[in-house]
Symmetry: C2
Subunit: 336 residues, 2 copies
């Protein structure tokens, strides 16, 4: 089934079930008022939502027209947002651009940071930027939402706790990252509010495209109206989403509604080297930092600038029949 | 006023107003069902809670006996928990123990990490530990809860957004920290669930002891039943709580119910060097790591081991009349 949260003026919005083709919705607030409430009691609530989803599909219940622009992020605020960096190709490029080695541990111990989850942007919200020098970037990613995950859950168990899947634009302030990482405490100011896709879906909704806790489809990232990234999510993933969930749960349980992100989707080129831009027949990039690293490796300096007020980003994923699965994140950078 | 959240079997508990002497409470759920709900609408709700608090003080409403052991952390789960490291003396000791310099920036740019907030421990909950080799430690701290803080708030404005104050035991797994910090993404597995004091209080409740966004009283940390730390919270703070809130809000707004922590309270010795143990007339330490660093500096190696199953920690603060302000965090480490 497909779920969304409509912006009804409240902090947590209103839970609705959306038709597979994203054209209609039916309010689900008689089953659970919010998506968090549904996740808090998922085993009992999900079957009721599935019945409603079937009715929506068959037009057996009165539906309203679904407009993606009226959707909040599925969880407008969450109790946890932890973002991995599962595509080590991205890290390899960062390191290569500054002539540094990738530690061997990065290939078996996932990178993950705790993100701010108190105030997500809606999928069509502007990205407020205080200073262009902060180096605003998008990061196109996949994220999963879990129910309660016990401390020490195995990877296999973790896979079963993945209840919903969505897309993310993990907004990053590249200019603030080096200073923060040098302090040793990780990202904070460099990771402002992120935005999620208008719709989240249960894994079964992806059919064969969900396999081994990865989506086997390309992530479509457009920048200023042009195709910028078409990276295959199922390719070059050093870790799958279940491994990331298990990593997060090693020393403590995860509360229902925990969101775990994949990190920037990043593919190698066909020759195993850096990937080519979409305009040159490559799979492109899911963030600006990556093309800047490739420019640095090849040309000695980065030419593509980071985002400034007026720049737009669009993140979407389509199934094999070219239908949008999650709706589109569409954001414009504005001066804060 | 003093507020607490009783464990009623729900995830977010039940909001109650507690008498100043912590002996009685009156349910506030007819005003706001949970503390988060109160914070979501603080300007409207707080005055109603204040009226109830006055009635509780005058025994003008029916009250029940308040037992600290029945309290959850004031926010059993929160949308944000960001912990600073405002007592640079602690960082100076860490660095001194490994012969490293403290960067000058640490004195004007706060250290802060994003913590997990989906699953706090209750103040009397056991601390589940998977492996003694993880190096379990307590960190006695002060934390504040804010309402909505706009992006870019000044320090002065940030001070006005501090609505509630409480104590924290920020459980830390020292054995996992070096590996995580080396990866560059900050703490994650090394910071499992923290516990907060049974009661949180409005700043006015502290009277003169709340000045310049700091509490001017000692934090009492007992380890295995013996006084371990009596550090003065108002002394040696490189940053106050308003500066930490403003730091957190630099690039994004903070949602209502954001918890910001001070970091381990840490005082220098009277001679400006490392502080002495309480048993030697000093102010002691708010975490085991600190005494281990001092042992390393003086003796070349740390002798005090980290916590193991059966070890207990107690964190409390008393006013000038020796009355407990927030109730006590009392936890025992257990094998997970």
């Amino acid at each position: 089934m497909k779920l969304a949260t409509l912006n009804d003026g409240t902090r947590d919005g209103k839970l609705v079930v959306v038709s597979k083709d994203l054209t209609r919705y039916c309010a689900a607030d008689n089953i659970a008022p919010t998506l968090q409430a549904a996740l808090d009691n998922w085993a009992e609530v999900a079957p009721k939502l599935e019945v409603l989803a079937t009715d929506v599909e068959h037009e057996a219940v009165p539906c309203e027209r679904f407009h993606e622009r009226e959707a909040h992020s599925p969880l407008p605020r969450a109790y946890q947002w932890a973002d991995g960096s599962a595509y080590i190709n991205h890290v390899e490029l960062v390191r290569k651009a500054r002539d540094a080695e990738v530690p061997d541990s990065f290939y078996h111990d996932p990178l993950m940071y705790q993100g701010g989850s108190d105030n997500f942007l809606a999928p069509r919200d502007d990205i407020p930027l205080g200073d262009t020098a902060w180096g605003c970037d998008m990061e196109g990613e996949v994220a999963v939402i879990t129910d309660d995950v016990p401390m020490g859950a195995s990877v296999e168990d973790a896979a079963g706790h993945i209840k919903l899947i969505m897309l993310v634009n993990d907004v990053s302030l590249r200019g603030l990252i080096p200073g923060e990482l040098a302090k040793g405490f990780g990202f904070f100011q460099s990771k402002p509010s992120s935005a999620f896709s208008p719709v989240c879906v249960t894994p079964d909704e992806l059919g064969d495209a969900w396999n081994d806790s990865l989506i086997h489809l390309p992530l479509m990232v457009d920048y200023n109206g042009e195709p910028f990234g078409r990276a295959e999510v199922g390719v070059d993933a050093t870790f799958n989403m279940a491994q990331l969930v298990a990593h997060a749960a090693k020393t403590r349980p995860l509360g229902a509604g925990t969101i775990i992100g994949s990190g920037t989707i990043s593919n190698k080129g066909e020759d195993g080297g850096p990937g080519k831009p979409v305009s040159e027949g490559g799979r492109g990039y899911s963030c600006i930092a990556e093309i800047r690293m490739i420019e640095t490796i090849y040309d000695g300096e980065a030419k593509t600038r980071f985002m400034a007020p007026g720049d737009t980003v669009r993140v979407e994923m389509r199934d094999k029949d070219n239908h949008s699965i999650f709706g589109a994140i569409e954001q414009t950078v504005v001066q804060a």
